[in-house]
């Protein structure tokens, strides 16, 4: 019941004028090529809603989304890989079963439902974390307090986004390490009488990381997907929330811009993964 939309009937001339102004009376393909031509020059058009350049709207929100997605990736690497490695090394132990079941649950839970749980526990019941937005206003903000404040706002959306990814990464890391441990050169290394620690960490673990890089490429679209829902639930002022909002009100230039950027983020992420490959895997370097 927010806006009480007052229904106004536009006259045919008024509507025609607006259509002409927005170029909507041209055939779709003409509109498309016009858009393509201008966007290649860096002009993504103007938001129907705010009249501001779409690029401005996007650039203002991009850092927020990158902060959220970036910290989710960081957390994923920090927890996913060690958990996977431990599971693999202690295969079929209690720890392994525990983490296996936990990561299955993580993969199976809808992110927004996890968000509900987090909000209920940490915000409603315990009152530790703010449930909405990216920062509080109203305190005298020194730079350190401000960072802490943003950090507090970041915790829950980051967790809600990262849990699924941590689970995936742990599963992949586990099977990747298991596969490497079964390779001949590991057997050779062990036969040579190398210390188990060196065999595992220097040979097996490092090699098991190489296939993980591919996962980066798969994680990025997932994170972008997640951002639409998680940013909406937590009122995070990022691209995802803007994307959902603009779909709901049919703000086409913004929808196009957000899609472009999402795709671009994914492509750039994949490129980074490729470079990482070259960096990590000496076999590729030689070619």
């Amino acid at each position: 019941m927010y806006a009480d939309p007052q229904k106004r009937v536009l006259t045919a001339e008024e509507a025609e004028l607006i259509r002409e102004k927005l170029g909507l009376n041209q055939p779709v393909y003409v509109q498309y090529f016009k858009w393509l031509a201008t966007s290649l020059q860096g002009n993504l058009g103007y938001s129907y809603k705010t009249k501001a350049p779409v690029l401005d709207e996007i650039l203002a929100r991009l850092p927020n989304t990158l902060l959220l997605a970036g910290s989710a990736i960081f957390l994923t690497l920090l927890l996913g890989i060690p958990i996977g490695a431990i599971s693999a090394l202690r295969r079929y132990s209690l720890v392994d079963y525990f983490f296996t079941i936990l990561s299955f649950i993580g993969i199976s839970m809808p992110g927004f439902w996890l968000a509900f749980i987090l909000i209920t526990v940490f915000s409603t019941r315990l009152g530790w974390l703010p449930p909405v937005g990216m920062r509080s206003y109203g305190q005298s903000l020194g730079s350190i307090q401000e960072i802490i404040d943003v950090g507090k706002h970041l915790v829950m959306p980051m967790l809600a986004m990262a849990v699924v990814e941590i689970a995936y990464w742990a599963r992949y890391q586990r099977s990747s390490l298991l596969e490497v441990l079964g390779q001949d050169y590991i057997r050779t290394a062990r036969a040579k009488g190398l210390k188990e620690r060196i065999v595992v960490w220097k040979h097996a673990f490092r090699n098991s990381l190489i296939p993980m890089i591919t996962l980066v490429g798969l994680t990025l679209p997932d994170l972008v997907n997640g951002s639409y829902i998680i940013e909406t639930v937590f009122g995070w002022p990022g691209l995802g929330r803007m994307g959902v909002q603009s779909i709901l009100i049919r703000d086409y230039p913004v929808v196009m811009g957000v899609t472009m950027l999402s795709a671009l983020l994914v492509v750039v992420g994949n490129l980074l993964a490729d470079f990482l490959y070259i960096f990590v895997d000496p076999r590729i370097q030689q070619n």
């Binding site: 009480d4 007052q6 106004r8 927005l22 809603k49 009249k51 401005d56 009100i249 492509v267």
Partner: protein
Amino acid sequence: MSKKRLILILFLIVSTISLLTACQPAEVTPETITIIETVIVEGTPQVIEKEVQVTVAVTAVPEEPAEEVGEESDRQGGVFTWGMPDEFPGFNPILNNNYTELWLFGLTSEPLTWGGENYPTELKPILAESWEVSEDGLVWTIHLRQGVVWHDGVEFTADDVVFWANAIQDPETGEGAAWWRPRFETAGVPHTFEAVDKYTVQVTTAEPIPSLLNQICVPLIPKHYFEENGVSNADMANDPFNTEINIGTGPFKMVEYRRGEAAVLEANPDYWRGKPYLDTVVLRVIPDPTAMLAAVQSGEVDWAQVEPQYVPQLLQNPNIELHILKMDSFRALEFNVKKPMFADKRVRQAFMHAVDRQSVINAYVMGYGEIPDYPFTHVVYGYEPLPQYEYDPDKALELLAEVGWVEGPNGTLVAENVEGVPAGTPFEFTLDTPPRYQAIGTVVQANLADIGVKANMLIQDYPTWLAENLGKEDKPYDVVVGGGGWLGSDGAGYSWAYYAGSATNSQMSYYNPEVEGLWAQVTATDDKEVKGELLREIAVILWDELPMAPLLWQNWVFAANPKVHVEETELNPNLFALFAKPETIWIEK
């Protein structure tokens, strides 16, 4: 980077783009979005006596008398955070009339006068101090308040007024201004605005317009900004003044805009009514209603409009005070009367009997609403309750049987000899429901199912619905959960949106020559009494014909931090600014 990957990237981008563009329907005019949400302030204030806001303070915190805590020095300072339910479409007051925007303009910008249908007192001078009209009623001399400065330090003068009026009158100025334009002209002839001296403006109109100052209460804009920056009227919409900054004369000035996040306002120390108590006002953008609820509950915002559904949970929270305000706002089932199924008024009356409107109110606003007994809201001139349609499914079935709908197999109603409907057709239709009215749709649907009518609910956002139906001769919809707000006391709002002009023009495709004649008489007179009588005549006809079945009159709920004091602000939900005197808001430390 390999060639393969380059190709992939290209593919990716091109396919994304083409997919999107292919989906773009050509006929939609998304511009309607900003135009439809509007507050008009016009007409006269008399009826408001009945409309005194009920400020229900439901909280465990005892109200202390303002004087005891409220020493001037104690009141100074503090930050007030206000949760905004929508992103800001723009900051130029002549281009925007979305209601979140108007709340912001209520803090930063000022019109010449505040008049308007629901303002509790007579026309109130703001930037105009006094005025007189010539005897023939054509020439107005307006004396401006002296010594008022814009937020950037330049003095406010008559030149600003002339520039502002001409910008609104210029057809080149963006669509938002088109909305105000009719108020600055009569019969197609624009009023002339002239600066007589630095503080006097003369307005000449082609015909006498007694309510001129009620009509032109649009916040002013500074001429010097647009001149110095070489902004033409056509460029106004995309200028920073609209997309990221605002300069006004109000008690607060906008100092920072974080896109999608918040607008930060600071006290204007030079404000002409005196320096505000607050240091800072933060308007935080929280578009998701659930997130807004969470923000209110956790104290992240001090003031926010919330869905009435949340009242029970908010009541449990001792740190929240609720203000429940009566609104000029209603929800209704709008019938497409061109469809043979709904052409007969008895079918529409049957719907009124079939829907349990108290349940609708319970589900949609937790009981914080009233069952309408009039086709307009209670603020319209001449309102007196009309005989109520009681909830009575049997009566509904009776009426439908008269039209020719009889009980068919498994309890559904089937056409027997209904005009325009082939015999044997089951009574089944699409009920368009905007997402936020889902609760209403759900109850209506269930109630209709009880009498054998099948309503297929289609949840569709409002802009989409408008794009498909607006101004079309044959509108595709059957029934929509609609309604309106702030349509005012003089009936004008109802006439152009719903009941007059032509069937194409009317939202419900409804046209009745008798009603049309009465509307013409309503417009022709300035006498409130006469208007009231005429409007009542119209109401009686519409209450019988029911092109639109009013379901409820609703209230607005604001949740507030109990430390915030708004007692002296003349809080009024029917006023666009919400707070008439925002400088008097203060916060206990």
